[in-house]
């Protein structure tokens, strides 16, 4: 099962923030700074695409008394 969107987004976003901080606070050689910048651009695009393409993920627990099917076809029933 792929890790979920929220985790991916949060991970990438926090990497992006750390990277900016590193770029801000340290005396990096220009080529390393450029490498960090490229990586930052990649993370930013990744975050943006996760937000654009995210889909609510629905899991239906089993019902107490009578079992009724959920409406959505793409329900994940992994509990």
């Amino acid at each position: 099962m792929p890790t979920n969107d929220t985790q991916n987004f949060e991970k990438s976003f926090s990497q992006l923030q750390q990277l900016i901080q590193k770029l801000e606070n340290s005396e990096l050689p220009l080529d390393e700074a450029l490498q960090l910048y490229e990586e930052g651009k990649r993370l930013s695009a990744l975050c943006s695409s996760i937000l654009e393409n995210a889909q609510l993920r629905l899991t239906q627990l089993s019902e107490a008394s009578t079992t009724q099917e959920g409406a959505d076809e793409d329900d994940e029933l992994d509990f």
Binding site: L28, K41, L58, T59, L61, A64, T66, Q68
Partner: protein
């Protein structure tokens, strides 16, 4: 005989009689403020908005009318055969000669009992402190995983999923399906809440149901449901019925939403748009940091090239020329100073010399004796010989003399 009446009777018109009847009815306190229970029949809403119907029980019936103004406030759709409790006053409708109940409010039969039950439970739980603001838990501002307790086939679920999907599609949603009305609903809702509370990474729970009559919503006034919400490990948002419906679940929940859709909105204060805006700002910051870096590097470069220029050999040559000029100037200044000092010394000597001028002494009566032959100054008797020619210099000139006796007297002066 029987049909002969000795007195002329008072004969009333119908209108006068009906007016009299109406006055009688309307002066009766009981008939002016009365609750009547019965079953609706001949229900007929008119196009004007007023509704006409008959209330009946097994033996009797009564015409009833409800004006539009009151009918608009009805919280249910009356139907033929429905048992209701109606409140209003009795009067007489002259046009068709009938007594009528003028209804100003009406509720399904039994609602009165339900309401009393509701009030008692509410007061009891409130007394236990279950509704205290201090008990309300804070909701997470950025939930990752939301649990939903509702009917899997209800419109409330679709409203919630649509709203959550539109606002924060990163979410995971776990649905604990349960009946939300009927006899089994309270136990089902309790079980669903407990199921969701066992999910470790769940952030909050929405308990929801679409609008309905007060009986439809009754499961949310159940004491066990209320206590389960109060005991929930996770914060609970209640979104039950419409804006005007208040259930015990609403009071005990951490947050009351007016509708299921509103519950989904309140559960997601941070939306995808907020995240996108934040991402955009962060990415701009990345660009800014890099261009700042480049600016600072080019400033460094400028400083370095200035440094280089300062350290070039040409600069050293110029420096030496300048130093040379400086030295020459210092030399000139030193020589000038020396000369000046010598001049001063000469002047000082001249002054001292003037002070030592022997002619100054001559004016006070002293004379200078010198040998006429050698010109040497004679300051002692032993330097003289008898018959020696000497010169005596006075203030104003010189006289010549001959020494008679070199040691002839203690006074040599003449």
């Amino acid at each position: 005989m029987d049909d002969f009446l000795p007195f002329t009777p008072v004969v009333m018109t119908i209108t006068a009689l009906t007016n009299y009847l109406r006055k009688m009815l309307e002066s009766d306190e009981i008939l002016q403020d009365v609750w009547v229970k019965g079953e609706i029949s001949n229900f007929s809403p008119s196009r004007s908005g007023h509704i006409y119907f008959t209330l009946k029980d097994n033996e009797s019936q009564l015409r009833a009318v409800m004006w539009k103004q009151s009918a608009l406030r009805l919280r249910f759709d009356p139907q033929d055969g429905q048992a209701v409790e109606a409140h209003g006053y009795i009067s007489f409708y002259a046009s068709n000669g009938q007594l009528q109940l003028y209804v100003d409010s009406m509720r399904p039969a039994g609602e009165g009992t339900l309401f009393q039950e509701f009030s008692r439970l509410k007061a009891r739980l409130e007394g236990e402190g279950l509704f205290d603001q201090a008990r309300k838990r804070e909701l997470p501002s950025f939930p990752r995983h939301i649990g939903v307790v509702t009917s899997p086939s209800g419109a409330a679920l679709q409203d919630i999923l649509n709203t959550l999907g539109r606002r924060l599609p990163l979410l995971r949603v776990s649905l604990a399906p349960t009946a939300v009305q009927g006899a089994e609903a309270p136990a089902g809702i309790v079980k669903a809440l407990n199921q969701l509370n066992q999910i470790a990474d769940l952030d909050l729970i929405i308990v929801a149901r679409g609008g309905g009559s007060i009986e439809d919503l009754w499961a949310f006034n159940d004491e066990n449901v209320a206590r389960t919400i109060a005991a929930s490990r996770l914060p609970v948002i209640a979104g039950v019925g419409h804006e005007t419906d208040f259930t015990i679940a609403d009071f005990v929940a951490d947050l009351r939403a007016p509708t299921p859709t509103a519950a989904a909105e309140l559960a997601t204060p941070i939306t995808r748009l907020d995240l996108l805006a934040n991402l955009q700002a962060t990415t701009q910051n990345l660009d800014l940091v890099l261009s700042e870096k480049v600016r600072s590097l080019s400033a460094d470069l400028q400083i370095a090239s200035l440094e280089l220029k300062r350290n070039s050999p040409m600069q050293r040559v110029y420096n030496n020329i300048q130093r040379h000029d400086d030295l020459r100037e210092r030399l000139d200044r030193a020589v000038q100073a020396q000369l000046k000092a010598k001049e001063l010394a000469v002047a000082a000597l001249g002054a001292r010399l003037a002070a030592l001028n022997p002619t100054a002494v001559l004016s006070r009566g002293f004379a200078i004796v010198s040998s006429a032959s050698t010109g040497k100054i004679i300051s002692k008797t032993t330097q003289t010989l008898a018959g020696q020619s000497i010169l005596i210099r006075f203030q104003d000139g010189t006289s010549s003399a001959i020494v008679q006796d070199p040691s002839g007297g203690t006074h040599a002066n003449q």
